[in-house]
């Protein structure tokens, strides 16, 4: 988990920076739907308008795309990896933790698998 300290820009700027970090670091995949404004506002204890403002900033920067009926999704161009890959990485991380595997061993196995597969 990463922690983002409050800044001068206020809550909207914090939320914007938080999601920007998740997108460019690869935590969120290209095409993945962002949480709803209602969920973000509830989780962070802010007004829905504040969360919506942060989402608008992300959209202006081209990090997310909002379409009517399809919600707000991470722009494929802005993301490190497509959502399909990120989703499987999450499943791998969950299973590895459940089995008690270390990240070093998982990375080593991933690299070996990557190199051995045609």
């Amino acid at each position: 988990m990463n922690r983002v300290a409050p800044s001068e820009g206020g809550a909207a700027a914090d939320i914007h920076r938080h999601f920007r970090g998740l997108i460019v670091s690869g935590v969120l995949g290209g095409g993945e739907r962002l949480p709803t404004v209602r969920q973000v506002a509830g989780d962070l204890g802010v007004a829905p308008g504040t969360a919506a403002k942060a989402f608008r900033q992300l959209e202006q920067e081209g990090l997310v795309v909002t379409r009517a009926g399809a919600g707000t999704r991470v722009s494929p161009e802005a993301a490190l990896l497509p959502y399909g890959v990120v989703d499987r990485i999450r499943a791998l991380v969950n299973e590895s933790r459940r089995q008690g595997a270390t990240i070093d061993d998982v990375l080593a196995a991933l690299r070996a698998s990557w190199d051995s597969e045609p």
Partner: protein, 319 residues
């Protein structure tokens, strides 16, 4: 014969559920923070209370038998057909369970004290296993198709309800058999729709609710998972019990025959068009019921083990 198989499904589903639940009982429940204790109590009571659905099913099943033995026939109408309310009670009991549990979960949801940042979108499916979701959706789809097809095949009896299957008897007219047509299927489908909508609402509300605090987020996630899995298991089980009972009745109707005696020639019997596969439909119905019993009993008998779950969200100090 198929009703003996139904009894076998009841016993087998229950027994296998108990055995698997006992196997799952190995291990000790972990303590949760005091703020989450009411919620865990609700989930534990709700899981035990789910057995009431099996009890309702058994009553609906055994009561006519016992009453019939006493010379009463409370479920048979004047024309000799099953009453329309014969099929929906287990599904309606499931809907009541889901609605009451939803209210209890909402009341015991801890108030947010410190923000836990939302990185990932949470939906009604977030805390569920995809295979469980597929099973529930398949059961609901199959129930809808069954009610539609059986309804279209049914005829209105003397009572006016569409609870009769007309069996053509050559040029001698037609016979009829008790059949779960619109009169029986629609109440089951309405109850199943209520179950589905109620389950969807509680799963969604529980999923998008904010967490209490970063310190309790892992335990909250584990409890949300336990609640979601329980709600879906009960919802799927209720729908399966309704579906299984309909299939059993459809199969039984198909196995029946109408006899016509012609003087000096003999007696001819006529059956429904699907008589060849009717036994298979009836046995499949009993098996679906067995699966419903299994889902409820396994969940109700297993201890509520809270495993530590790491929250896949990032934390933000946004206030």
């Amino acid at each position: 014969m198929v009703y003996l198989f139904e009894m076998f499904a009841f016993v087998a589903g229950t027994a296998v559920g108990v055995v698997l639940a006992r196997r799952a009982a190995r291990g000790v429940e972990r303590a949760v923070p005091p703020s989450l204790e009411p919620r865990r109590r609700v989930i534990r009571i709700a899981r035990a209370w789910a057995v009431s659905i099996v009890v309702v099913f058994s009553l609906e099943w055994w009561f006519p038998t016992v009453a019939g033995g006493m010379g009463l026939s409370p479920t048979i109408d004047a024309a000799g057909y099953y009453q329309w309310w014969r099929y929906w009670p287990p599904v309606a009991a499931t809907a009541v369970w889901v609605i009451v549990v939803a209210a209890a979960l909402a009341r015991t949801r801890p108030r947010p004290e410190a923000p836990v940042g939302a990185g990932l979108r949470r939906t009604w499916r977030t805390y569920l296993r995809p295979a469980d979701v597929r099973l529930a959706l398949a059961a609901l789809a199959l129930l809808s198709v069954t009610v539609l097809v059986a309804g279209l095949a049914s005829s209105s009896g003397e009572s006016g309800w569409f609870t009769v299957l007309t069996i053509p008897v050559g040029d001698q007219g037609a016979g009829s058999a008790t059949f779960p047509g619109w009169g029986n299927g629609v109440p089951v489908l309405l109850a199943a729709a209520l179950v589905a909508v109620s389950a969807l609402r509680v799963l969604n509300a529980d999923s998008i609710a904010p967490f209490h605090s970063p310190a309790t987020a892992d335990d909250e996630t584990a409890l949300r998972q336990a609640a979601a899995v329980s709600v879906l298991a009960v919802a799927a089980a209720g729908i399966l019990l309704g579906l299984g009972h309909l299939w059993l009745a459809i199969g039984s109707a198909g196995e029946g025959s109408v006899g016509v005696g012609i003087p000096h020639i003999g007696t001819f019997t006529f059956q429904a068009g699907y008589a060849a596969i009717a036994p298979a439909i009836a046995y499949a119905g009993a098996a679906l019921e067995g699966l419903g019993f299994f889902l409820i009993i396994r969940m109700a008998c297993a201890p509520l083990k809270i495993r530590t779950v790491r929250v896949e969200t990032a934390r933000v100090d946004a206030r």
